[in-house]
Structure formats: structure tokens, C-alpha cells
């Protein structure tokens, strides 16, 4: 493309926002986090005392085997996207503190990650996303964290930590979060209104990409004003399915990974897409005039956290890793490189880059709250949703 920024690929991402930009963004997020904390500080949980073996029964850190096995997404430490920066920001602190280098085992998505563990795979820590938190706990392979061992825990957004608190135990330390929203190219797309409806705008046939996920049913539900998109009845699901089927002809293809969506934008195959923030960062860096919209029905948000395996032999190592990942340094990296949020509310404050603020609506502390953003929540009848989505694809 010939522009200054190097185009990201699996190994040589050189994209970077300027320092003022990321610091500014984290400032706003911190502010919003603090505000949220103030509002909801009384929703119990969050810092339940650790149970399990008393600290004295555990071998100290020095006699743990090390070689911490981290079961995680690509680009979160293994170096898939930013080889040097991932290490530097996410786990250098851990390495310095323990002298250990972690091993990364990757999973492609939550389902396959969960499947492998259900089949018997065991690691030290895992990093799934919230909608599966309860499934993981139900597998009976995790033990709760001892939050008193986590130095950064008190700085973490309590509301999100509450979602990792199951049955009164802190099974998950929620670290990262992000939005999902329609992203479009401002130079070729003129939205009639900023809405999820962009994803089925008749005027842009063949230039649209959806995420290959049952979440499409959820956002269609928000578009239609359904009361609780995360717990729809069969009737409602049927209506959403039929609606999506009727609009499917406008869609070019379904993307599975964020990088696929970016590449489609880059090749100008697609002008509108259901997108996560990192796709916006890549597209912007490639020189496109892309807008990460705030649809009138509200964005959705996802969040993910670290879980500790019950039979891990690296108890203290694991806590040290979680600490490293929940530090402000890690927050800087996520915001800077992926435009993902981080739950650490104590990030440094500074000036804000207008682009990023506008793109993610960071100027307003209520951005994370309903109804502007709908936090993802577990879907009880997930398998039913899954079937309806398969029907959308199969028709």
C-alpha cells in the first residue's frame, strides 16, 4: 500500500498509536472505571477470600517447577501479533519476578478451548471469555484465586471482577474487555442512521461482512428492540433467524478471526463489518478512513479473564503471572495496540488523541453502561441459539 505504517501480519505488526493517544484513552477508561466503581461498589463479591489449601500447605514459589503453561488466545503473550511488545508489556514483569518463561498453548476460540479441557487437557492457567465462565467452573477443573496475593486486584474494576466471582469464589480474574460494533468506511458509506442496521443496509450489497457467530442473532434482536436478546424465546429466535436469512444475500462472507475482517477491508472487498476494536486499529493503520460506530441500539461488549487450574503445580507462579497481566503496563499495551479495554482503573492519565476518543466514545464516562453498551452475559440456551445460527448459515 505504500503508506508509512507497516501492514500487520502474523509476525511483523508495527502498528502503534502515539503515546499521547494511548495514555489519553486509558485516562478516560480509568475515569469511567472509577465512576462505575463508585456507582456499583456495593454489588457484593469481588474480593472473596481465597479458599483451598492454606498458604502454609503449599510449597513456596522457589520449589515450584515453573514452566508456567498459559492456555490463551493468540496475540496475548505468545508473540503472534507483536512479538516483542507482547512479552515486554504482558509478562516481562512476571519473568523478572520469578525468573520463569511461560509456555503458551493457543486456542482459536472459546469453544475449541473449552472442548480440549473438557476432554482432559490441563494447564496452569487459562484465559477464556465470560460467557463460558460458568461452563468452565462446572467442569470442576479450576480452583479459585487468592486475591490477597494479587497486588493489582484492588485497582481492578469491581463490577467486572464480580462476574468472575462464582459461588462466592473468585474463579476468574477479569483482565481484558472490548466492544463489538459496526465498523464502516466513511469515504464510501453514508449511513442513514448509525445503527446495527448498517450490517444489513440494502444499498451496500456484497460489501458487508458478519461475524460467524450466534451473536449475530443477539445484535439483530437489539436492532428489533427485543426485550432480552440474551434470553430469547423460540419465537423471537425464529423471527431473528428469518430476518437474518432474508438479509444474508447482502453479505459477502462471514469472518472467523478479526484479522480476516481487516484483510477484507484492506482488499476493499468489504466496506461494512461487525467488528472488534482491533480491526479498527489495523484498518486505520493501513490508511483507511474507518469509523468504529456507536449504534443507537448500543454496542455490545465482551470480557475475558484468567482461571487457575486446580491441579496446577505452579500456584504462586500463576498468581505472579496474573499480577503481571493485570498491571497498568499490560493495560497500556492492550489499549495501545488492540484498542481493547483493561480492567485496571489506575492507569496513568494524560492527554487524549481525538481519533480514539471519538472512535470509542471515551469522552463519556457512561460509555460502558447500559443502554450504551450491553455487556455480554451467559446465554442459558446457548445450544439452541447455536442451532438457529446454523440454520441461518445453512439456508
Amino acid at each position: 500500500m505504500g503508506d508509512g505504517a507497516r501492514i500487520p501480519d502474523e509476525k511483523t505488526f508495527g502498528l502503534r498509536l502515539d503515546r499521547r493517544g494511548f495514555l489519553g484513552m486509558s485516562a478516560v477508561l480509568a475515569a469511567s472505571g472509577l465512576l462505575a466503581a463508585c456507582k456499583k461498589a456495593d454489588t457484593g463479591g469481588g474480593t472473596a477470600a481465597a479458599t483451598g489449601a492454606s498458604p502454609s500447605a503449599r510449597p513456596p514459589l522457589e520449589s515450584e517447577p515453573g514452566g508456567l503453561q498459559v492456555y490463551d488466545w493468540g496475540g496475548y503473550g505468545d508473540g503472534a501479533y507483536y512479538p516483542k511488545e507482547e512479552r515486554q508489556y504482558l509478562w516481562k514483569e512476571y519473568e523478572t519476578a520469578t525468573g520463569d518463561t511461560p509456555t503458551f498453548i493457543l486456542f482459536e476460540d472459546d469453544d475449541s478451548g473449552y472442548a480440549k479441557v473438557a476432554a482432559g487437557a490441563r494447564y496452569d492457567i487459562a484465559h477464556p471469555c465470560a460467557y463460558r465462565f460458568e461452563d468452565w467452573v462446572a467442569l470442576d477443573v479450576l480452583q479459585p484465586w487468592d486475591t490477597s496475593l494479587l497486588q493489582n486486584f484492588s485497582s481492578l474494576n469491581p463490577t467486572l471482577q464480580a462476574s468472575g466471582n462464582i459461588d462466592g469464589q473468585q474463579y476468574f480474574v477479569v483482565a481484558d474487555w472490548g466492544f463489538a460494533a459496526p465498523m464502516y468506511r466513511a469515504d464510501v458509506v453514508e449511513p442513514q442512521e448509525v445503527s446495527w442496521g448498517l450490517l444489513w443496509d440494502d444499498r451496500y450489497e456484497g460489501k458487508i461482512s458478519w461475524w460467524d457467530s450466534l451473536n449475530m442473532l443477539v445484535v439483530a434482536a437489539y436492532y428489533h428492540g427485543i426485550a432480552d436478546p440474551w434470553a430469547m424465546t423460540d419465537d423471537e429466535l425464529g423471527q431473528m433467524r428469518d430476518f437474518l436469512i432474508s438479509k444474508k444475500g447482502l453479505v459477502s462472507f462471514f469472518w472467523g478471526q478479526s484479522i480476516d475482517l481487516f484483510r477484507a477491508f484492506k482488499q476493499e472487498e468489504v466496506w461494512i463489518g461487525y467488528a472488534w476494536p482491533d480491526a479498527w486499529v489495523y484498518a486505520k493503520g493501513a490508511g483507511f478512513d474507518v469509523v468504529y460506530s456507536e449504534p443507537k441500539e448500543g454496542r455490545t461488549s465482551w470480557y475475558c479473564g484468567f482461571g487457575l487450574f486446580a491441579d496446577s503445580e505452579n500456584y504462586y507462579h500463576a498468581h505472579a503471572y496474573a499480577d503481571s497481566w493485570t498491571s497498568t503496563k499490560a493495560a497500556e499495551f492492550l489499549l495501545n495496540y488492540y484498542a481493547y479495554g483493561h480492567t485496571n482503573t489506575a492507569v496513568d492519565l494524560s492527554l487524549i488523541s481525538k481519533d480514539i476518543v471519538e472512535a470509542f466514545g471515551l469522552g463519556d464516562p457512561t460509555i460502558l453502561d447500559e443502554p450504551r453498551t450491553h455487556a455480554e452475559r451467559p446465554i442459558e440456551r446457548r445450544d439452541v441459539y447455536s442451532e438457529y445460527w446454523s440454520e441461518v448459515k445453512a439456508s
Binding site: 476460540d109 469453544d111 475449541s112 473449552y114 472442548a115 473438557a118 476432554a119 461452563d135 462446572a138 467442569l139 450489497e205 456484497g206 460467524d212 457467530s213 450466534l214 444474508k248 444475500g249 453479505v251 459477502s252 462472507f253 462471514f254 482488499q267 476493499e268 472487498e269 445450544d383 447455536s386 442451532e387 445460527w389 446454523s390 440454520e391 448459515k393 445453512a394 439456508s395
Partner: protein, 300 residues
Amino acid sequence: MSTVDARADAVRVGRRSDRRATVGLLSAPLVWLLLFFVVPVGFVAAYSVGAVRIFPTDGSVSLADWQRFLTGGSIYLDLFWKSVLMSLAVSVVVVLLAYPVGYFLALCVRKRKYVLLLVIIAPFLTSFLLRVLAWKVILGDQGVVNTLLFWLNLRAPDDPVPWLLYSRFTVMLVLAYVWVPFVALPIFVSLDNLDRSLLEAASDLGSSRWRTFVRVTLPLSVPGIMAAFVFVFVPTIGEFVTPQLVGGTEGYMYGNAINDLFTEGLDWQSGSVLALFLLLVVAGLMVLFGRWIQVRNVAG
């Protein structure tokens, strides 16, 4: 001559003390196939009726999944027929394209027929994914065909031909492209084995070439045609890679449904039902077409 010889040798060898030798020879391959081919398939069958459970969400023993699938309660049976139709269309086109090639090489070429045959088959022996990549590159909105059209001013640069890529047409085109080389082989073999004297006799009896073709050559080459048809039809029903790469949203096939059930959404039990159904259909087809498929003849 030497085959007769081998058979005679085989007779000589069928003595009792050599049965142990036979068992010795066969044990390794058979054990491997039993363990890693028969058992897994049996497992899938058991899993599809809930006799095996892996995940906490798996149901217990019941035929409900099968019932729902077969009585059209779920959308997958429709998808299956849709895929069958697509495969049928592709197979017919492929056989039509491959037949003249086989005919030409077997009956009209004297020297170097095997070299020319290799030229046709060689692409099939190269990477399948790369050949699909080539088409993605050629058919995209900013791909070779469209940019060529822009360059030649046949189409405006903001108006590429949209249905070239990510459509049912693309899937069928790419599938045909991939399979034509392979399918030429059985047709060639059956025509090559044709007794020339039959053609000469027909000609001596005053038959025109066209008539000879229709009434002698074509009927005799039917085994080759059937083999060719099956060799492309069977794999393409279960095709999922090509649709994923070039099918976009229109080209979703039955194989994709199976793949998705196993990789997204984690409904392995439904996936097993669909997979087993496909296997049974394929097995049924092979029994049906068994007499046309002499594996040895077709392999050349």
C-alpha cells in the same frame, strides 16, 4: 501371461503351513486399519446415539437426534439435498469436460499418449489449496480478472463484477477445476482398453464414425464414465474446504455444517449424526455402483 503365471504361483502357495505366513503379513496392516479406521467410525456411530459421552452437555442414549435429522425437523437434511444437487451438477460438467480428453488421448493419439495424460493429471497431484488460492486471486473484486477489465476500460474501477467470487458459481467452478484432471484417468483407461478391432469391424460394416461412436465406443466406455462420475461425486458431497474459501454466504454445503458443528458451537453429537449419515450414503453409493468400479482397472 505373467499374470496367469502369478495366479498359478498363488495356487501353489496355498498350503497350510503358509497360513501363518499370511496372518503374519496381514496382521500389521489389518490391525492398523481396525484400530484407526474401523473403530473410530464405530465410535462416531456410538456417539451419535449417545452411547458415548464426552462433554457435560452431551445427551444420553437416544435416537432423538437421528429422528430429528431424518424427519426433516432440522434444516440439515435440506442442506444435504442441496449439496447433492450441487455435486451432481459439478460431476456432470466434469465428466463432460473430461470425456473428450480421454477419448482424444486414448483413440486419436499414437505417440506420447501417456505423457499427455500426465500433463492433464499433474495439476491434480499438486496442492489443492494452492489451486483454490489461485482462483481467489483471479476472481476477487480487486483480483486479476477485474483489474484486467479495469485496465482495459471494459468496466469502471468502482464497479467490479461481484458474483465471480463468494458465490455458488465460484464453488462449482473451483470444484470442477480441481476434479477434471483426476476424472480424466478412468475414462482414459476404459477407452484405452477398448478393442480396436471392434471399431474397425464397425467401419468395415459401413458405419459412419459418429454412429460407431454412439453405438460402439460410448456404450463400451460406460464403466469408465461411471467410475469417473463416482470418483468426483462422492468426494464433493462432503466438500467443505472449497465452500469455506470461495463460497461466501451462498456456497454453504453439507460438509460445512458438519465441520461447524465440530468446531463452533460444540454440538459433536449432531455433527456425528450428520457425518455418519454421509458415510452411509457414500457406502450405499459404492454398493450401488460397485460393479462399475473395479478399483484395479481404474487405477491404470
